[in-house]
């Protein structure tokens, strides 16, 4: 019964969208910023519901995809040179560095552990002390507060063998850069990140760039609803931020979580794969938490790591290309032997295209 209602609602929404598109001269291009949306769009087959006048491209919202090769090299260096136990979220372990991945390090006997919550690091540090434990600090505003709590706990418990290799990123600065792209009609804004930063924080998109944005949940229907709003605003030449995930996202966001981030971190420049160094788009550890900074504790002798020049991840991350426009896609670069991070992460654009057929399925 529920399934029938869901299907009927989806048919109605897709119908609305297609009729608005047919009455509109040009095509529309929207970018989803969050990797979970990328996955949901592909796994629910949403693209197969629209005419080709609507293009959905993926932005730099997958934490693994925007992490530079150098970061993997640094982590492996810490494991090899200092015998550190590396603790990470799952997806990162297969990302190829210059000389192999964390999974390769593990198969050579290196200590690499996968966790779901950063808090598990405290227990691991106690278990293996005095061996140094390095948490690979990748992620956006959603994961950063839990890392902040972990470090506050570590500080109060005086944990001496726990470190963080920081590559945390925040979403607004790159979004501003992407918003200046002329051919983008608007943004499908992330659900979880917005729960922390708040719907009001995107006010610059309509104000400075005349681009609409809709915050959406992760269900196929949620996304269809958000796309309908984006199409509607584009047709009417309106630009607003709409929040269609109100049960989770408040206008002001999660003030407590943001205060936690501010207590432990301070803004810093960050290097994004595909976008380069963006001033103020990352987070560094503040005093006294900088005692946990692996980059300060361990002398790093890791050379710069250029990407394979044939890999188009950088242009795919900015929505300029779709994965099938990359010469490596599906041939030399496949999920079991990825060249670039967009194929590694389960939320990567290339992985989603490869896995779900890129929305070009007709059956």
């Amino acid at each position: 019964m529920r399934i029938e209602i869901e299907k009927r609602a989806a048919t109605k929404l897709a119908g609305d969208i297609n009729s608005m598109l047919s009455g509109y001269g040009a095509s529309m291009k929207f970018m989803e910023v969050c990797g979970t949306h990328t996955m949901a769009i592909h796994s629910s087959g949403i693209k197969s519901l629209f005419t080709s006048k609507l293009v959905l491209v993926s932005g730099p919202g997958c934490p693994v995809c925007v992490t530079e090769k150098l970061f993997i090299d640094q982590a492996i260096f810490l494991g090899k040179k200092f015998g550190a136990c590396l603790v990470t979220f799952g997806d990162l372990i297969r990302v190829p560095g210059t000389e192999g991945s964390l999974a390769d390090l593990r198969s050579q006997g290196g200590s690499v552990k996968v966790v779901y919550s950063p808090m598990d690091v405290i227990g691991i540090a106690a278990q293996v002390a005095p061996q140094p434990v390095v948490f690979l600090g990748v992620g956006f505003e959603t994961t950063i507060p839990t890392v902040a709590v972990t470090l506050k706990t570590a500080l109060s418990q005086n944990v001496g063998n726990l470190f963080v290799l920081p590559a945390f990123k925040t979403i607004h600065r790159p979004l501003k850069i992407l918003a200046s792209q002329k051919d983008l009609s608007g943004f499908l804004l992330p659900g979880h990140v917005s729960a922390i930063i708040g719907a009001d924080s995107y006010d610059y998109l309509p104000r400075d760039h005349q681009k609409p944005g809709v915050i959406a949940g992760f269900d196929g229907l949620d996304i269809l609803l958000a796309i309908r709003s984006l199409v509607k605003m584009t047709v009417k030449n309106e630009a607003r931020i709409e929040n269609e995930y109100r049960t989770v996202v408040k206008p002001e966001g999660n003030v407590v979580a943001r205060a936690l981030i501010d207590e432990v971190f301070e803004p810093a420049d960050a290097s994004w794969r595909g976008l380069g160094v963006i001033p103020g788009s990352g987070l560094a550890l503040r005093t006294p938490y900088d005692a946990f900074d692996a980059l300060k504790r361990f002398p790093m002798e890791v050379p710069a790591a250029p990407d394979d020049p044939r890999c188009k991840c950088a242009r795919i991350l900015t929505g300029e290309l779709t994965p099938n426009q990359c010469g490596l896609f599906g041939g030399e670069c496949v999920p079991e032997a990825p060249v670039g991070p967009c194929m590694v992460s389960s939320e990567g654009t290339c992985a989603a295209y490869y896995k779900y057929g890129g929305g070009s399925v007709d059956a």
């Binding site: 693209k47 979220f89 996968v114 919550s117 959603t142």
Partner: protein
Amino acid sequence: MTPSFQVNSISLAHGGGGKMSRQLIRDLIMPRLNRGKLAALPDSVVLSNLGDKIAFTTDSFVVSPIFFPGGNIGSLSVHGTCNDLACSGAQPVFLSVGLILEEGFPMEKLSRLLDSMSEAADICGVEIVTGDTKVTPKGATDLIFINTAGIGKVRSAVELTPTRIAPGDAIIVSGPVGNHGMAVMLSRAEFSFDFDVKSDSAGIWPVVERLLTLESGLKFLRDPTRGGLSATLNEIAGLTGFTVSVDESMIPVSPEVSAAAELLGINPLEAANEGKVVAVIDSGSVDRAFDLLNDCPQAVGASLIGSVIGENKPRVIMKTRIGGSRVLSEPMGELLPRIC
């Protein structure tokens, strides 16, 4: 002499072929697994009255953790091999068991595993008739590995091969999918979640026995173990060269498995099953198949999930819940939790 029941853990001597080995077999293994033929401990067992066609298979079990909600490596080692036999249309009748134990493995755990094997074998109607025990030094085995081989009497009138699959054939799954894989994932030490997800580890012969009465209406059987339903459907597409089409809304997944899968970022269609069967049947036999499975406790939640379509492109297309369509690709391998 120290009576063996006072020994708390396995030592290398238990695999040495001497007195300790004998005691382990006599005091711990025999009372649990012997149903007659095992008692004599010959070098090999002689079997008769097997009919003119038998199925023969082997499988090794290395699951970690060895105990998980809904089962353990012992019961799994019986179900896994029995189910492989059943998928050839064979009724499982005899099993061999090879135990590879790590030095220091607790006796108490071994006896619990043997109890489970014994119970599972009785329920599956299969007799353990021969076996072997080896002990490796600490670190050479991760606690316990089990190999089982099985013999089944072929009961199907027709051969169950992919070559008999034709466009239009229907695809049925015998119940909700993803339970075993999710239960094992959730019970791994690195996940501290409390979900009520149990493995579906069980023998599927009762389901298969009923479906065999469809005779030539039954074309092919597969148990969707590693790689889950997704791997099995892709295998069917690959073996036949046809496109397989499935309807997401018809694929049964329990709410608990759905919730856990969503949180961990795992597709339940890629998670292993150990008590389910996927059947390809002639479209004209569908109603009859559901009548047959109606009162079968091992087929609660059975569902018609899709069909083979006459397109010579070996792939699986899934109609999504919202009416879109996409490829259901072959799973890659290691299941990983998502990052955000």
